[in-house]
């Protein structure tokens, strides 16, 4: 068994010929959602399944993930916190602001926050950044996985309020939640064009790739604010 760092804090573990993604466990011995724990050379790793996480799929799809050890991350659409827990592993010296709108999933998320020192849970609507602007500071990375029809607008208003000038936006666009009927390729094109032109924050799209075969009809996008 060997662990190779493929992106800051993200490791590729080779075990019996198979390769798996993993992050270094911040809380020793704790498995968050039933994922496997593997110990290599005194270090405990948590297996990270790309089918359950858009961000993990983006790592495998060779996005140059800008999240570092000391990054501040605003995570929109945190849900129950499966992916958030891995981001929390990666930013061991940073902080994750996890925004989620559903009370039900917030219940699980709070359980996770209780276990981990670097997650700040926020029960709020990502459409209204003004409702949490008194809590969240400027961040290095905004990760967004909200599956809303106005995704790109949500990204824009949040980037405007919270993203550092040289910060990055990571976005997972779900075609089916924007238009159930239209061709996904066309939806992706429209959304990227919107990101570039439609809002008072213009984005420069650095990279975009579909997240097949891990997530169907999802486009991963990495962008930064155009100055």
């Amino acid at each position: 068994m060997a662990a190779k760092e493929v992106s800051s804090g993200v490791f590729e573990i080779t075990e019996r010929g198979g390769k798996q993604l993993a992050t270094k466990n911040l809380v020793h011995g704790m498995s968050v959602y039933g994922e496997k724990l593997i110990e290599i050379e005194g270090c405990e790793y948590r297996i990270w399944n790309p089918k359950r996480s858009k961000l993990a799929a983006m790592v495998i799809k060779k996005f140059n993930i800008p999240i570092k050890r000391d990054s501040k991350v605003l995570y929109l659409g945190a849900a129950s916190g499966t992916s958030v827990s891995h981001v929390s592993d990666i930013v061991s010296d940073g902080i994750v602001y996890a925004v989620e709108f559903s009370q039900r999933t917030m219940r699980d998320l709070i359980g996770l926050c209780d276990e981990r020192p670097n997650i700040v849970p926020i029960l709020a609507d990502a459409n209204r950044p003004q409702s949490y602007a008194h809590i969240v500071e400027e961040v290095d990375v905004i990760f967004q996985d909200v599956a809303q029809p106005n995704q790109s607008e949500i990204a824009a208003v949040n980037a405007k309020q919270f993203l550092k000038k040289d910060g990055h936006l990571l976005l997972s666009i779900k075609a089916r939640s924007i238009d159930t009927a239209a061709n996904p390729k066309k939806v992706f094109k429209d959304e990227v064009r919107k990101l570039e032109n439609d809002f008072d924050v213009g984005f420069e799209v650095l990279d975009s790739r579909e997240l097949m075969p891990f997530h169907e009809d999802h486009l991963g996008v990495m962008a930064r604010v155009r100055n």
């Binding site: 917030m106 926050c113 209780d114 849970p121 926020i122 809590i135 309020q161 159930t180």
Partner: protein, 350 residues
């Protein structure tokens, strides 16, 4: 400009520098309260690019980055816990509806098993589901059936095998378990009726308690249901048919779960779509009355609905004439010419 942050209020000069500040007390619980309700008169949110962490340290609220992180984390967790613990009655209704569905599913599966199993010993019993479970739980072996039971004759002359000893104990116990499920089902229904009558009297008056509860559950809450347009209410529960309609050239669904309303179910097919539309319109009015005008039953909606349904029935007493072939029972004569590709059947309830 005065801005509010989670740790205090700050006054900024035009250059964005903090010139005055008023820190809150450093009590986690009090800070959590403020976090949820930050609205204070003439306060702005921090301008984009303002470093609230640096401000907290500069104003002496916290001494270090670490302290900032820890305190903010504690306060946010406390605040989030406060926010999710405020349950409303419609949340109870949603859980009850889902529990009802789970029980139905389970009870059906178990009843089928019981029918197969007990059939070995008394194939002539002719009962199923709840009556069968009650029968088996009461008697066990058919040799115990009392002479005044109407199945006595059949029980004595049955060609089934003898049910004795351990087998009888097992089958009987199994049936008793199913009976408990049915008991709990009727308790849930009672609860739903009562709870719906107090939280949404007008909805109950128009749609009935159980359909009403189901609508609330599918919408995700009473208030959410009140915000739905009536066209949505008309097709809630017909998701598959609706998306097929939007995606392909399937006909639009006429009714979702409101189909179970006796006024629709018991009407002939060509009136159903029209009645569904009228019913949905009145349901959405009724829910809004329940949510926004605070209690009290208003009979006028019901009267109007009844009048409307009467007039639909009076103007469309006969089925519309069908066009040559295809006629797949869509009923909406006025749509036929417009959309000749109607021969695909929609997936859900139409």
């Amino acid at each position: 400009m005065k801005i509010i942050t989670w740790f205090g209020t700050l006054t900024l000069d035009d250059g964005g520098k903090v010139v005055e500040w008023d820190m809150f007390s450093k009590d986690t619980d009090a800070l959590a309260e403020r976090l949820i309700q930050p609205k204070e008169a003439d306060m702005d949110i921090p301008p984009a690019g303002f470093d609230i962490r640096a401000a907290a340290i500069e104003c002496g609220f916290v001494a270090s980055d670490d302290e900032y992180d820890n305190l903010l984390r504690d306060v946010s967790i406390r605040a989030a816990k406060k926010q999710i613990s405020s349950g409303t009655p419609d949340m109870g209704i949603i859980q009850a509806v889902e529990a009802l569905d789970d029980i139905d599913e389970t009870a059906n599966t178990l009843s089928e098993r019981l029918a197969e199993w007990y059939g070995m010993y008394f194939p002539e019993v002719g009962l199923s589901s709840e009556p069968l479970a009650r029968f088996v739980a009461k008697y066990g072996s058919r040799s115990n059936v009392s002479p005044d039971d109407r199945l006595y004759e059949k029980a004595t002359s049955s060609m089934g095998a003898e049910l004795t000893g351990l087998d009888e104990e097992l089958v009987k116990g199994f049936a008793e378990n199913i009976c408990t499920l049915y008991d709990s089902r009727s308790r849930l229904e009672e609860y739903l009726v009562k709870s719906m009558e107090t939280t949404a009297p007008n909805l109950v008056n128009i749609a009935g308690a159980l359909i009403g509860a189901r609508l609330v559950s599918m919408a995700g809450g009473l208030e959410k249901l009140a915000r739905f347009p009536s066209s949505t209410i008309q097709v809630i529960g017909a998701n598959r048919a609706l998306f097929k309609h939007l995606r392909a050239r399937a006909p639009s669904p006429k009714h979702g779960i409101i189909f179970n309303h006796p006024q629709i179910k018991n009407s002939p097919w060509w009136q159903r779509g029209k009645i569904a539309r009228a019913l949905a319109a009145k349901i959405s009015l009724a829910v809004r009355m329940d949510v926004y005008s605070g209690g009290g039953l208003n009979e006028s909606i019901k009267t109007e609905l009844d009048a409307k349904i009467e007039s639909i029935k009076a103007t469309h007493p006969k089925p519309p004439k069908r066009e040559s072939k295809g006629g797949s029972g869509k009923g909406k004569g006025e749509y036929k010419n417009k959309n000749k590709m109607q021969n695909k059947k929609a997936g859900g309830r139409r």
